[in-house]
């Protein structure tokens, strides 16, 4: 029996993973605040700990947590950051 699939069966080529780092020393870490409540507090603490390990950090903020990040924001993370940490939920 032939059925019509409700799924989009197209396959997307997987994005290649960036190379992994062995150390945080000298790394530039993007801290993504998705604007969920208290996410900034979580990232403040993560930032402290990262700096203790010799990493540099920068903040990026989504306009609204419930929508996908803008491509421009993702580009900023990719261009400047070696690593990224996202404060996901409240």
């Amino acid at each position: 029996m032939e059925y019509v699939s409700p799924f989009d069966e197209r396959r997307r080529a997987p994005e290649p993973l960036a190379s992994r780092r062995d150390t945080l020393e000298g790394a530039c870490v993007a801290l993504l605040d998705i604007t969920k409540r208290r996410g900034d507090e979580f990232l403040d603490r993560i930032e402290e700990r990262l700096r203790e390990h010799g990493a540099d950090t920068f903040r990026v903020v989504k306009e609204i947590f419930s929508k996908p990040a803008e491509p421009e924001l993702i580009r900023r993370i990719a261009n400047r950051g070696d690593l990224a940490v996202e404060g996901l939920a409240d």
Binding site: V4, S5, P6, F7, E9, R10, P14, I64, S66
Partner: protein
């Protein structure tokens, strides 16, 4: 390639016992003497083919070997050894690809089945499909699946392995990698190291294929569950003829856009498949299409609704002549069971979100509790009996326009009031019922409250000459509390910032109260639906492409 196991064990449970006794592969060959083509001899050019790929277009022998040697595996959905092989080959797809060796599988199944099995086994190599009559399988002389051919860069057969045979497959991988000067990735040594395969479908005679088809048909409903084409309830199988009837000549490739959260493309054909699965009649389809179009508008923020931990479902409100024409119910029990158009139109939209959009509960849909309306949630207004203009007129459409409005919301909370004697009193009761929605101390709500006002309650307002707006304003004015009484648990920044004695309202504005007129003529039970908050999700209306 002659080692094989009976396929009978993979048929429907009811048929399996008798078929296993009657239709082992050896028995079938003894009875029918099915002719098979000799497998291509080593070093001879492999048979050419061009088969549809799950990534679109077709892939042929020359494509596979254009960049170096290739491993070509034949498999089928029903063969457990094939599933084992694909699961175990999956980890070496990427390293082989990086080394310039392509790993492809040809399924003796339709393309959608091939895609599903590949997804389930996490196999990310090239996936091709060849339904009956299996000319390619026959050309390769298959008796048994899985069967793996090593093809050199000239397209000649350089080796074969049958069934799951880790040593033989490691040998083929080693040869392929040696040809390109790469280190071969390791195939797992986990037992079993060998496992016999199943008979290739290409060796079946017509009677056997018919038996399998009928056994499959007996389990068609279970098959839908196994494919994941369900919301947990049985569905109507989306056969080609049913989907074509739903489409009624519309262009199946027309795209309504990408559906969050997985961004699968909502072609009309896929939306029609969801409508069939949901149990829609073809005449409901224009409403389903309009509901999908509305839900995909940016302002609706379907992405947020689809993945949130909130209970958010998508309520579809059908207004205008189409509602009565296709039987969208607005009367007794409107929010409950019994009304095919309501239940299946709402369900079709939800299936588009969960199947085409990939927003399946427990996966990308992270709703903590969900609610029953997430199966499907659709109503019409009692436009003839209501004292008010219908919602779509209030939203700027003509009364004779047929319009679908979608709004993200929680489950209904019933509001009983059989004692109020004035509209003011009843407005107070209705308003305060909404006060506890979202959270009792979350004031102002910062979103929309949808009320379904029953006919007896409508009548009290109608008799007093109250417009919708007057009722909205009365409800808004009735629900206020001092900030100090709202400072427990989840409270808003406004409550924290306010003077303790200042009065806070439940809503920012009367416009945050949406009133719908529907329900059975007897009984004074209205309802308020909890909101979907925090994601700037707007109510969206869309005209239905429909005419009498």
């Amino acid at each position: 390639m002659s080692r094989s196991c009976s396929r009978a064990g993979t048929l429907g449970a009811a048929a399996a016992g008798s078929l296993e006794a009657r239709w082992t592969f050896a028995e079938r060959r003894r009875r029918y003497g099915v002719a098979t083509v000799a497998a291509p001899a080593p070093s001879t050019r492999a048979p050419s083919f061009a088969l549809p790929s799950t990534t679109g277009g077709s892939v042929g022998l020359d494509d596979l070997v254009s960049g170096g040697p290739a491993l070509l595996v034949f498999a089928s959905e029903e063969c457990p050894t094939c599933a084992l092989a694909l699961r175990r080959l999956a980890p070496i797809v990427a390293p082989l690809h990086d080394a310039g060796v392509r790993l492809a599988v040809v399924f003796e199944d339709p393309l959608d089945v091939a895609a599903r099995v590949a997804r389930d086994t996490r196999f990310k190599g090239t996936v091709l499909a060849e339904p009956a009559p299996y000319d390619t399988s026959r050309a390769y002389g298959l008796d048994t699946l899985p069967a793996t051919f090593l093809l050199d860069r000239d397209g000649a057969v350089a080796g074969t392995a049958v069934g799951w045979d880790a040593a033989a497959l490691s040998g083929l991988v080693g040869e392929a990698c040696a040809a390109v000067g790469a280190r071969p990735p390791e195939i797992t040594g986990e037992p079993p190291r060998t496992k016999p395969g199943c008979a290739a479908k290409s060796t079946y005679d017509e009677e056997m294929l018919a038996l399998i088809e009928s056994a499959g048909a007996a389990d068609e409903m279970e098959d839908m569950f196994e494919r994941g084409w369900s919301d947990g309830l049985p569905v109507v199988p989306p056969t080609r003829s049913r989907v074509d009837a739903m489409l009624a000549g519309r262009d199946p490739r027309r795209s309504l856009g990408d559906v969050p959260p997985g961004m699968g493309e909502a072609t009309l054909e896929r939306v029609a498949a969801c409508a069939v699965l949901a149990g829609c009649r073809p005449e409901y389809f224009p409403v389903v299409v309009a509901a999908v179009e509305a839900a995909l508008e940016e302002a609706f923020n379907l992405n947020g609704q689809a993945v949130t931990t909130q209970p958010a479902g998508q309520l579809v409100i059908v207004g205008g002549p189409v509602a009565e024409a296709i039987g969208v119910h607005s009367g007794m029990g409107v929010l409950g069971p019994g009304w095919r158009a309501n239940l299946t139109i709402g369900r079709a939209l939800r299936l588009v979100v969960t199947l085409t959009g990939g927003g399946a509960p427990g996966r990308l849909d992270r709703s903590t509790l969900g609610h029953p309306g997430k199966l499907g949630f659709c109503i019409a207004e009692d436009e003839a009996g209501s004292p008010w203009e219908p919602l779509h007129v209030e939203r700027g459409f003509a009364r004779d326009d047929s319009v679908v409005t979608v709004v993200g919301c929680d489950a209904p909370l019933s509001i009983s009031d059989h004692r109020a004697t004035t509209p003011e009193e009843l407005a107070h009761v209705l308003g305060w019922a909404g006060a506890a929605t979202w959270s009792p101390n979350w004031w102002p709500l910062g979103g929309t409250s949808v009320y379904v006002i029953c006919p007896e309650h409508q009548a009290m307002f109608g008799a007093a000459g109250w417009s919708r707006q007057r009722l909205r304003e009365a409800m808004f004015d009735a629900v206020r509390k001092p900030a100090r009484d709202l400072r427990l648990g989840e409270t808003t920044p406004q409550v924290h910032a306010a003077d303790p004695d200042s009065l806070i309202t439940k809503w920012d504005s009367p416009d945050d109260i949406v009133l719908l007129a529907a329900g059975g003529e007897a009984g004074r039970y209205s309802a308020v639906l909890g909101p979907c908050l925090g994601m700037n999700s707007q109510m969206v209306s869309r005209e239905v492409a429909w005419s009498t």
